[in-house]
Protein backbone atom coordinates (compact mmCIF):
# COMPACT_ATOMS: atom_id res chain seq x y z
CA UNK A 1 0.00 0.00 0.00
CA UNK A 2 2.80 2.38 0.97
CA UNK A 3 4.76 1.46 -2.14
CA UNK A 4 1.68 1.92 -4.32
CA UNK A 5 1.24 5.42 -2.96
CA UNK A 6 4.94 6.32 -3.49
CA UNK A 7 4.66 5.20 -7.11
CA UNK A 8 1.37 7.05 -7.64
CA UNK A 9 2.86 10.21 -6.17
CA UNK A 10 5.87 10.05 -8.48
CA UNK A 11 3.71 9.40 -11.51
CA UNK A 12 1.34 12.24 -10.72
CA UNK A 13 4.15 14.73 -10.10
CA UNK A 14 5.57 13.54 -13.43
CA UNK A 15 2.43 14.80 -15.16
CA UNK A 16 2.86 18.27 -13.75
CA UNK A 17 6.61 18.56 -14.24
CA UNK A 18 6.09 18.71 -18.01
CA UNK A 19 3.65 20.86 -20.01
CA UNK A 20 1.65 17.71 -20.83
CA UNK A 21 -0.69 18.07 -17.86
CA UNK A 22 -1.44 21.73 -18.51
CA UNK A 23 -2.00 21.25 -22.22
CA UNK A 24 -4.30 18.34 -21.49
CA UNK A 25 -6.29 20.23 -18.84
CA UNK A 26 -6.65 23.22 -21.14
CA UNK A 27 -8.05 21.17 -24.01
CA UNK A 28 -10.22 19.11 -21.71
CA UNK A 29 -11.88 22.16 -20.17
CA UNK A 30 -12.07 24.13 -23.42
CA UNK A 31 -13.68 21.22 -25.23
CA UNK A 32 -16.11 20.42 -22.43
CA UNK A 33 -17.19 24.06 -22.19
CA UNK A 34 -17.43 24.71 -25.90
CA UNK A 35 -19.38 21.55 -26.72
CA UNK A 36 -21.77 21.95 -23.80
CA UNK A 37 -22.68 25.55 -24.46
CA UNK A 38 -22.54 25.70 -28.26
CA UNK A 39 -23.24 22.23 -29.58
CA UNK A 40 -25.66 20.50 -27.24
CA UNK A 41 -28.14 23.40 -27.21
CA UNK A 42 -27.69 23.86 -23.48
CA UNK A 43 -29.41 27.27 -23.25
CA UNK A 44 -32.15 26.49 -25.77
CA UNK A 45 -33.39 23.58 -23.65
CA UNK A 46 -34.27 25.99 -20.89
CA UNK A 47 -33.77 23.31 -18.26
CA UNK A 48 -31.45 23.87 -15.32
CA UNK A 49 -29.46 20.65 -15.25
CA UNK A 50 -26.13 19.32 -16.51
CA UNK A 51 -27.54 16.40 -18.46
CA UNK A 52 -26.19 17.59 -21.87
CA UNK A 53 -22.76 18.08 -20.28
CA UNK A 54 -22.58 14.59 -18.82
CA UNK A 55 -24.00 13.03 -21.99
CA UNK A 56 -20.83 14.23 -23.72
CA UNK A 57 -18.48 12.43 -21.36
CA UNK A 58 -18.57 8.90 -22.83
CA UNK A 59 -17.73 10.41 -26.22
CA UNK A 60 -15.10 12.91 -25.11
CA UNK A 61 -13.35 10.35 -22.93
CA UNK A 62 -12.98 8.22 -26.04
CA UNK A 63 -9.98 10.27 -27.11
CA UNK A 64 -9.15 12.28 -23.98
CA UNK A 65 -8.53 9.25 -21.75
CA UNK A 66 -6.23 7.37 -24.17
CA UNK A 67 -4.15 10.56 -24.23
CA UNK A 68 -3.48 10.01 -20.53
CA UNK A 69 -3.25 6.23 -20.52
CA UNK A 70 -1.14 5.67 -23.64
CA UNK A 71 2.09 6.65 -21.91
CA UNK A 72 1.54 4.68 -18.70
CA UNK A 73 3.49 1.55 -19.68
CA UNK A 74 4.51 2.20 -23.29
CA UNK A 75 6.82 5.00 -22.20
CA UNK A 76 8.22 2.98 -19.34
CA UNK A 77 9.11 0.27 -21.86
CA UNK A 78 10.51 2.65 -24.46
CA UNK A 79 12.79 4.55 -22.07
CA UNK A 80 13.97 1.36 -20.36
CA UNK A 81 12.86 2.55 -16.91
CA UNK A 82 10.70 -0.57 -16.69
CA UNK A 83 13.95 -2.47 -16.01
CA UNK A 84 14.72 -0.13 -13.15
CA UNK A 85 11.20 -0.32 -11.76
CA UNK A 86 10.97 -4.11 -11.98
CA UNK A 87 14.28 -4.62 -10.17
CA UNK A 88 13.32 -2.33 -7.29
CA UNK A 89 11.54 -4.05 -4.38
CA UNK A 90 8.14 -3.41 -5.96
CA UNK A 91 5.60 -6.07 -6.90
CA UNK A 92 3.91 -5.97 -10.29
CA UNK A 93 0.54 -5.44 -8.64
CA UNK A 94 1.81 -2.43 -6.72
CA UNK A 95 3.35 -0.93 -9.84
CA UNK A 96 0.22 -1.40 -11.96
CA UNK A 97 -2.01 -0.07 -9.20
CA UNK A 98 0.22 2.92 -8.46
CA UNK A 99 0.31 4.07 -12.05
CA UNK A 100 -3.40 3.50 -12.53
CA UNK A 101 -4.28 5.45 -9.38
CA UNK A 102 -2.12 8.39 -10.50
CA UNK A 103 -3.87 8.52 -13.85
CA UNK A 104 -7.28 8.18 -12.23
CA UNK A 105 -6.52 10.97 -9.76
CA UNK A 106 -5.39 13.14 -12.63
CA UNK A 107 -8.65 12.53 -14.50
CA UNK A 108 -10.42 13.35 -11.22
CA UNK A 109 -8.58 16.66 -11.03
CA UNK A 110 -9.68 17.47 -14.58
CA UNK A 111 -13.25 16.59 -13.69
CA UNK A 112 -13.22 18.74 -10.53
CA UNK A 113 -11.99 21.68 -12.60
CA UNK A 114 -15.29 21.65 -14.52
CA UNK A 115 -16.94 23.09 -11.37
CA UNK A 116 -17.78 26.40 -13.15
CA UNK A 117 -20.40 24.37 -15.04
CA UNK A 118 -22.00 23.42 -11.81
CA UNK A 119 -21.83 27.03 -10.56
CA UNK A 120 -23.36 28.30 -13.80
CA UNK A 121 -26.32 25.98 -13.62
CA UNK A 122 -26.93 26.86 -9.98
CA UNK A 123 -26.78 30.52 -10.87
CA UNK A 124 -29.28 30.12 -13.71
CA UNK A 125 -31.84 27.98 -11.92
CA UNK A 126 -32.46 25.39 -9.24
CA UNK A 127 -30.99 22.13 -10.51
CA UNK A 128 -31.18 18.86 -8.62
CA UNK A 129 -27.70 18.84 -7.11
CA UNK A 130 -28.09 15.22 -6.01
CA UNK A 131 -28.37 14.17 -9.64
CA UNK A 132 -25.34 16.28 -10.52
CA UNK A 133 -23.23 14.69 -7.77
CA UNK A 134 -24.32 11.21 -8.90
CA UNK A 135 -23.40 12.12 -12.46
CA UNK A 136 -19.97 13.35 -11.38
CA UNK A 137 -19.37 10.08 -9.54
CA UNK A 138 -20.56 8.19 -12.61
CA UNK A 139 -18.25 10.15 -14.86
CA UNK A 140 -15.33 9.45 -12.53
CA UNK A 141 -16.12 5.71 -12.60
CA UNK A 142 -16.37 5.86 -16.37
CA UNK A 143 -12.93 7.51 -16.53
CA UNK A 144 -11.58 4.74 -14.26
CA UNK A 145 -12.95 2.07 -16.59
CA UNK A 146 -11.44 3.71 -19.65
CA UNK A 147 -8.11 4.23 -17.86
CA UNK A 148 -7.84 0.63 -16.69
CA UNK A 149 -8.51 -0.48 -20.24
CA UNK A 150 -5.94 2.01 -21.55
CA UNK A 151 -3.41 0.92 -18.95
CA UNK A 152 -3.71 -2.70 -20.09
CA UNK A 153 -3.43 -1.79 -23.77
CA UNK A 154 -0.45 0.46 -23.04
CA UNK A 155 1.33 -2.52 -21.48
CA UNK A 156 1.28 -4.57 -24.66
CA UNK A 157 3.31 -2.12 -26.76
CA UNK A 158 6.21 0.28 -26.50
CA UNK A 159 4.62 2.57 -29.06
CA UNK A 160 2.37 5.24 -27.56
CA UNK A 161 0.51 5.84 -30.83
CA UNK A 162 -0.47 2.18 -31.05
CA UNK A 163 -1.57 2.28 -27.42
CA UNK A 164 -3.71 5.35 -28.15
CA UNK A 165 -5.38 3.87 -31.23
CA UNK A 166 -6.06 0.50 -29.57
CA UNK A 167 -7.64 2.14 -26.56
CA UNK A 168 -9.72 4.41 -28.79
CA UNK A 169 -11.02 1.51 -30.89
CA UNK A 170 -11.87 -0.78 -27.96
CA UNK A 171 -13.44 2.17 -26.13
CA UNK A 172 -15.49 3.01 -29.20
CA UNK A 173 -16.81 -0.55 -29.36
CA UNK A 174 -17.76 -0.36 -25.68
CA UNK A 175 -19.65 2.89 -26.21
CA UNK A 176 -21.29 1.95 -29.50
CA UNK A 177 -22.56 -1.38 -28.21
CA UNK A 178 -25.24 0.58 -26.36
CA UNK A 179 -26.43 2.82 -29.19
CA UNK A 180 -29.88 2.15 -30.77
CA UNK A 181 -28.14 1.67 -34.10
CA UNK A 182 -26.17 -1.34 -32.92
CA UNK A 183 -28.89 -2.73 -30.67
CA UNK A 184 -31.59 -2.58 -33.37
CA UNK A 185 -29.24 -4.18 -35.84
CA UNK A 186 -28.41 -7.00 -33.43
CA UNK A 187 -32.07 -7.53 -32.56
CA UNK A 188 -32.81 -8.58 -36.14
CA UNK A 189 -30.95 -11.84 -35.84
CA UNK A 190 -29.70 -12.27 -32.26
CA UNK A 191 -31.77 -13.52 -29.33
CA UNK A 192 -32.70 -11.05 -26.59
CA UNK A 193 -30.05 -12.42 -24.24
CA UNK A 194 -27.31 -11.35 -26.60
CA UNK A 195 -28.86 -7.94 -27.18
CA UNK A 196 -29.25 -7.37 -23.45
CA UNK A 197 -25.73 -8.40 -22.62
CA UNK A 198 -24.47 -6.21 -25.45
CA UNK A 199 -26.35 -3.32 -23.92
CA UNK A 200 -25.09 -4.08 -20.42
CA UNK A 201 -21.49 -4.01 -21.65
CA UNK A 202 -21.89 -0.50 -22.93
CA UNK A 203 -20.51 2.55 -21.17
CA UNK A 204 -23.48 4.46 -22.56
CA UNK A 205 -26.09 2.34 -20.79
CA UNK A 206 -24.45 2.78 -17.42
CA UNK A 207 -23.87 6.49 -17.93
CA UNK A 208 -27.53 7.02 -18.88
CA UNK A 209 -28.77 5.33 -15.74
CA UNK A 210 -26.27 7.23 -13.57
CA UNK A 211 -27.20 10.44 -15.41
CA UNK A 212 -30.74 10.10 -14.14
CA UNK A 213 -29.39 10.36 -10.63
CA UNK A 214 -29.39 6.68 -9.68
CA UNK A 215 -26.15 4.84 -9.08
CA UNK A 216 -27.23 1.25 -9.48
CA UNK A 217 -25.34 -1.64 -7.92
CA UNK A 218 -25.24 -3.07 -11.43
CA UNK A 219 -23.28 -0.09 -12.73
CA UNK A 220 -20.92 -0.09 -9.76
CA UNK A 221 -20.32 -3.79 -10.31
CA UNK A 222 -19.79 -3.21 -14.01
CA UNK A 223 -17.13 -0.53 -13.61
CA UNK A 224 -15.58 -2.28 -10.61
CA UNK A 225 -15.16 -5.56 -12.44
CA UNK A 226 -14.02 -3.82 -15.64
CA UNK A 227 -11.26 -2.02 -13.72
CA UNK A 228 -10.25 -5.16 -11.83
CA UNK A 229 -10.20 -7.31 -14.97
CA UNK A 230 -8.18 -4.81 -17.00
CA UNK A 231 -5.62 -4.24 -14.24
CA UNK A 232 -5.22 -7.97 -13.78
CA UNK A 233 -4.72 -8.38 -17.54
CA UNK A 234 -2.14 -5.59 -17.30
CA UNK A 235 -0.22 -7.44 -14.55
CA UNK A 236 -0.28 -10.69 -16.52
CA UNK A 237 0.86 -8.97 -19.73
CA UNK A 238 3.76 -7.26 -17.96
CA UNK A 239 4.80 -10.45 -16.25
CA UNK A 240 4.90 -12.30 -19.54
CA UNK A 241 6.66 -9.69 -21.62
CA UNK A 242 8.22 -7.07 -19.40
CA UNK A 243 11.61 -7.50 -21.02
CA UNK A 244 10.59 -7.60 -24.68
Amino acid sequence: MRTTWILAKRELSGYFSTPVAYVFLFFYLALMGFLTFYVTGYYERGVADLQPFFALHPWLYLFLIPAISMRLWAEERKSGTIELLMTLPVSLGEAVMGKFLAAWLFSGIALVLTFPMWMTVNFLGNPDNGVIIASYIGSFLLAGGYLALGSFLSAITKNQVIAFVLTFVVGLLLVLSGTPLVLEFARQFAPDVIVDSLRSFSFLTHMTSIGSGVIEVRSLAFFGSLIAACLLACVVTLDLKKAS
Binding site: I6, R10, S17, T18, L84, M86, L88, V90
Partner: protein, 240 residues
Protein backbone atom coordinates in the same frame (compact mmCIF):
# COMPACT_ATOMS: atom_id res chain seq x y z
CA UNK B 1 26.60 -14.06 -2.26
CA UNK B 2 25.76 -14.43 -5.94
CA UNK B 3 25.26 -18.01 -7.05
CA UNK B 4 24.53 -18.69 -10.70
CA UNK B 5 23.83 -22.23 -11.76
CA UNK B 6 23.45 -23.46 -15.34
CA UNK B 7 21.76 -20.22 -16.32
CA UNK B 8 20.38 -20.53 -19.85
CA UNK B 9 18.28 -18.20 -21.98
CA UNK B 10 16.72 -18.89 -25.36
CA UNK B 11 15.15 -16.21 -27.52
CA UNK B 12 13.13 -18.34 -29.90
CA UNK B 13 15.54 -20.77 -31.54
CA UNK B 14 18.54 -18.67 -30.52
CA UNK B 15 20.47 -19.64 -27.38
CA UNK B 16 21.80 -16.35 -26.04
CA UNK B 17 23.14 -17.60 -22.73
CA UNK B 18 24.29 -21.19 -22.57
CA UNK B 19 24.50 -22.86 -19.18
CA UNK B 20 26.59 -20.31 -17.31
CA UNK B 21 27.70 -21.22 -13.79
CA UNK B 22 29.68 -19.10 -11.36
CA UNK B 23 29.61 -17.70 -7.84
CA UNK B 24 30.76 -14.37 -6.53
CA UNK B 25 31.78 -14.07 -2.90
CA UNK B 26 31.86 -11.06 -0.63
CA UNK B 27 34.90 -8.92 -1.42
CA UNK B 28 35.07 -10.07 -5.02
CA UNK B 29 34.69 -7.81 -8.05
CA UNK B 30 33.83 -9.89 -11.08
CA UNK B 31 34.47 -8.36 -14.48
CA UNK B 32 32.28 -9.59 -17.29
CA UNK B 33 33.98 -9.32 -20.66
CA UNK B 34 32.90 -10.25 -24.13
CA UNK B 35 32.16 -8.96 -27.60
CA UNK B 36 28.87 -7.20 -28.32
CA UNK B 37 25.99 -9.66 -28.33
CA UNK B 38 27.91 -12.17 -26.22
CA UNK B 39 25.10 -12.36 -23.66
CA UNK B 40 26.56 -10.10 -20.96
CA UNK B 41 23.49 -7.91 -20.50
CA UNK B 42 21.12 -10.86 -20.82
CA UNK B 43 23.01 -12.65 -18.04
CA UNK B 44 22.83 -9.55 -15.83
CA UNK B 45 19.11 -9.17 -16.51
CA UNK B 46 18.66 -12.75 -15.30
CA UNK B 47 20.83 -12.27 -12.19
CA UNK B 48 18.67 -9.28 -11.22
CA UNK B 49 15.41 -11.12 -11.88
CA UNK B 50 14.25 -8.82 -14.68
CA UNK B 51 14.39 -11.62 -17.22
CA UNK B 52 13.22 -15.12 -16.39
CA UNK B 53 15.79 -17.74 -17.41
CA UNK B 54 14.79 -20.58 -19.73
CA UNK B 55 16.49 -22.90 -17.25
CA UNK B 56 18.92 -22.68 -14.36
CA UNK B 57 18.84 -20.55 -11.23
CA UNK B 58 20.25 -17.32 -9.89
CA UNK B 59 20.50 -16.69 -6.15
CA UNK B 60 21.28 -13.46 -4.35
CA UNK B 61 22.30 -13.86 -0.70
CA UNK B 62 20.64 -17.26 -0.79
CA UNK B 63 17.34 -16.00 -2.24
CA UNK B 64 16.22 -17.39 -5.59
CA UNK B 65 15.53 -14.32 -7.76
CA UNK B 66 12.49 -15.96 -9.33
CA UNK B 67 10.88 -17.57 -6.29
CA UNK B 68 11.83 -15.08 -3.57
CA UNK B 69 12.16 -12.06 -5.79
CA UNK B 70 11.23 -9.47 -3.17
CA UNK B 71 13.87 -10.63 -0.69
CA UNK B 72 16.47 -10.82 -3.46
CA UNK B 73 15.62 -7.37 -4.84
CA UNK B 74 16.07 -5.78 -1.40
CA UNK B 75 19.68 -7.02 -1.25
CA UNK B 76 20.46 -5.86 -4.75
CA UNK B 77 21.66 -2.65 -6.35
CA UNK B 78 21.44 -2.62 -10.13
CA UNK B 79 22.59 -0.25 -12.83
CA UNK B 80 20.79 -1.42 -15.98
CA UNK B 81 22.26 -1.02 -19.46
CA UNK B 82 22.06 2.62 -20.56
CA UNK B 83 21.37 3.83 -17.01
CA UNK B 84 17.61 4.44 -17.43
CA UNK B 85 16.02 7.03 -15.14
CA UNK B 86 12.83 9.09 -14.99
CA UNK B 87 14.26 11.94 -17.01
CA UNK B 88 11.62 14.52 -16.15
CA UNK B 89 12.82 14.39 -12.54
CA UNK B 90 15.88 16.07 -11.07
CA UNK B 91 18.59 13.80 -9.59
CA UNK B 92 17.54 15.05 -6.15
CA UNK B 93 13.87 14.12 -6.62
CA UNK B 94 14.82 10.85 -8.31
CA UNK B 95 17.07 9.72 -5.46
CA UNK B 96 14.41 10.78 -2.99
CA UNK B 97 11.92 8.55 -4.82
CA UNK B 98 14.32 5.60 -4.88
CA UNK B 99 15.02 6.08 -1.16
CA UNK B 100 11.26 6.00 -0.43
CA UNK B 101 10.81 2.82 -2.46
CA UNK B 102 13.83 1.27 -0.71
CA UNK B 103 12.22 2.05 2.62
CA UNK B 104 14.81 4.57 3.79
CA UNK B 105 13.35 7.34 5.92
CA UNK B 106 14.17 10.16 8.28
CA UNK B 107 17.81 10.83 9.10
CA UNK B 108 19.04 7.65 7.36
CA UNK B 109 17.48 8.81 4.10
CA UNK B 110 19.03 12.28 4.32
CA UNK B 111 22.50 10.99 5.17
CA UNK B 112 22.44 8.23 2.54
CA UNK B 113 21.36 10.62 -0.23
CA UNK B 114 24.00 13.16 0.83
CA UNK B 115 26.64 10.41 0.92
CA UNK B 116 25.99 9.03 -2.58
CA UNK B 117 25.63 12.50 -4.09
CA UNK B 118 29.11 13.22 -2.74
CA UNK B 119 30.49 9.83 -3.84
CA UNK B 120 29.49 10.25 -7.48
CA UNK B 121 29.78 14.07 -7.55
CA UNK B 122 26.25 15.11 -8.38
CA UNK B 123 26.22 18.29 -6.25
CA UNK B 124 26.20 20.77 -9.12
CA UNK B 125 23.34 19.14 -11.09
CA UNK B 126 21.12 18.11 -8.21
CA UNK B 127 18.29 20.41 -9.26
CA UNK B 128 18.42 20.08 -13.03
CA UNK B 129 16.07 17.73 -14.87
CA UNK B 130 17.92 14.51 -15.71
CA UNK B 131 17.00 14.85 -19.40
CA UNK B 132 19.18 17.98 -19.64
CA UNK B 133 22.27 16.27 -18.21
CA UNK B 134 25.26 14.94 -20.13
CA UNK B 135 25.76 11.23 -20.65
CA UNK B 136 28.38 11.11 -17.90
CA UNK B 137 26.08 12.69 -15.35
CA UNK B 138 23.21 10.41 -16.34
CA UNK B 139 25.43 7.38 -15.80
CA UNK B 140 26.41 8.70 -12.37
CA UNK B 141 22.75 9.25 -11.44
CA UNK B 142 22.19 5.57 -12.31
CA UNK B 143 25.17 4.59 -10.19
CA UNK B 144 23.96 6.70 -7.27
CA UNK B 145 20.56 5.02 -7.46
CA UNK B 146 22.18 1.56 -7.41
CA UNK B 147 24.32 2.15 -4.31
CA UNK B 148 21.83 4.30 -2.38
CA UNK B 149 20.69 1.57 0.03
CA UNK B 150 24.25 0.26 0.47
CA UNK B 151 23.35 -3.16 -0.98
CA UNK B 152 25.27 -6.35 -0.34
CA UNK B 153 25.19 -7.24 -4.01
CA UNK B 154 25.89 -4.81 -6.81
CA UNK B 155 25.30 -5.51 -10.51
CA UNK B 156 26.59 -2.82 -12.83
CA UNK B 157 26.09 -2.98 -16.59
CA UNK B 158 28.84 -0.86 -18.13
CA UNK B 159 29.26 1.55 -15.22
CA UNK B 160 31.92 3.69 -16.90
CA UNK B 161 30.39 3.90 -20.39
CA UNK B 162 30.20 7.52 -21.52
CA UNK B 163 32.44 8.88 -18.77
CA UNK B 164 35.55 10.92 -19.49
CA UNK B 165 38.94 9.57 -18.32
CA UNK B 166 38.84 11.49 -15.04
CA UNK B 167 35.35 10.31 -14.25
CA UNK B 168 36.27 6.74 -15.16
CA UNK B 169 39.19 6.93 -12.75
CA UNK B 170 36.91 8.15 -9.97
CA UNK B 171 34.19 5.58 -10.58
CA UNK B 172 36.78 2.79 -10.58
CA UNK B 173 38.10 4.14 -7.28
CA UNK B 174 34.56 4.18 -5.93
CA UNK B 175 33.96 0.57 -6.95
CA UNK B 176 37.25 -0.53 -5.37
CA UNK B 177 36.41 1.29 -2.15
CA UNK B 178 33.04 -0.47 -1.91
CA UNK B 179 34.43 -3.86 -2.85
CA UNK B 180 35.52 -5.19 0.52
CA UNK B 181 32.03 -5.68 1.96
CA UNK B 182 30.06 -6.35 -1.20
CA UNK B 183 29.84 -8.83 -4.03
CA UNK B 184 30.10 -6.88 -7.28
CA UNK B 185 29.54 -7.93 -10.88
CA UNK B 186 30.26 -5.45 -13.64
CA UNK B 187 30.38 -5.68 -17.39
CA UNK B 188 32.72 -3.69 -19.55
CA UNK B 189 34.23 -3.33 -22.99
CA UNK B 190 37.40 -1.85 -21.62
CA UNK B 191 40.05 -4.44 -20.96
CA UNK B 192 42.19 -2.21 -18.77
CA UNK B 193 39.24 -1.71 -16.50
CA UNK B 194 39.36 -5.37 -15.55
CA UNK B 195 42.94 -5.03 -14.43
CA UNK B 196 42.16 -1.79 -12.63
CA UNK B 197 39.19 -2.87 -10.53
CA UNK B 198 38.40 -6.56 -10.82
CA UNK B 199 39.63 -9.41 -8.67
CA UNK B 200 38.35 -11.89 -11.23
CA UNK B 201 37.47 -11.90 -14.91
CA UNK B 202 35.05 -13.95 -16.96
CA UNK B 203 35.13 -13.82 -20.72
CA UNK B 204 31.99 -14.92 -22.52
CA UNK B 205 31.14 -15.18 -26.21
CA UNK B 206 28.06 -16.68 -27.81
CA UNK B 207 26.63 -17.16 -24.35
CA UNK B 208 29.38 -19.43 -23.07
CA UNK B 209 32.12 -18.94 -20.50
CA UNK B 210 35.49 -19.13 -22.26
CA UNK B 211 37.73 -17.87 -19.50
CA UNK B 212 37.35 -17.65 -15.74
CA UNK B 213 40.32 -16.53 -13.68
CA UNK B 214 42.22 -13.63 -12.20
CA UNK B 215 43.11 -10.60 -14.34
CA UNK B 216 46.77 -11.48 -13.63
CA UNK B 217 46.48 -14.93 -15.18
CA UNK B 218 44.77 -13.32 -18.17
CA UNK B 219 47.54 -10.75 -18.51
CA UNK B 220 50.24 -13.41 -18.19
CA UNK B 221 49.12 -14.82 -21.54
CA UNK B 222 50.24 -11.68 -23.35
CA UNK B 223 48.83 -8.27 -24.24
CA UNK B 224 45.16 -8.12 -23.17
CA UNK B 225 43.81 -7.10 -26.58
CA UNK B 226 45.40 -10.07 -28.26
CA UNK B 227 44.42 -12.54 -25.55
CA UNK B 228 40.82 -11.31 -25.79
CA UNK B 229 40.82 -11.69 -29.57
CA UNK B 230 42.37 -15.14 -29.45
CA UNK B 231 39.88 -16.41 -26.91
CA UNK B 232 36.74 -14.96 -28.47
CA UNK B 233 37.68 -15.57 -32.08
CA UNK B 234 38.79 -19.15 -31.60
CA UNK B 235 35.23 -19.66 -30.53
CA UNK B 236 33.94 -17.97 -33.67
CA UNK B 237 36.02 -20.24 -35.92
CA UNK B 238 35.08 -23.43 -34.11
CA UNK B 239 31.41 -22.47 -34.08
CA UNK B 240 31.15 -21.76 -37.80
Amino acid sequence: MIEIQNLTKDFGPLRVVDSITFTVKKGEVLGFLGPNGAGKSTTMKMITGFLAPTSGTARICGHDVEKESMAAKKKLGYLPEGAPAYTDMTPGAFLDFIADIRGLSGATKVTRIAAVVKQVHLEQVLHQPIETLSKGFKRRVGLAQAILHDPEVLVLDEPTDGLDPNQKFEVRGLIRSMAKDKAIVLSTHILEEVEAVCTRAIIIAKGRVLFDGTPESLASRGPLDEVFRTITQAERVSAS
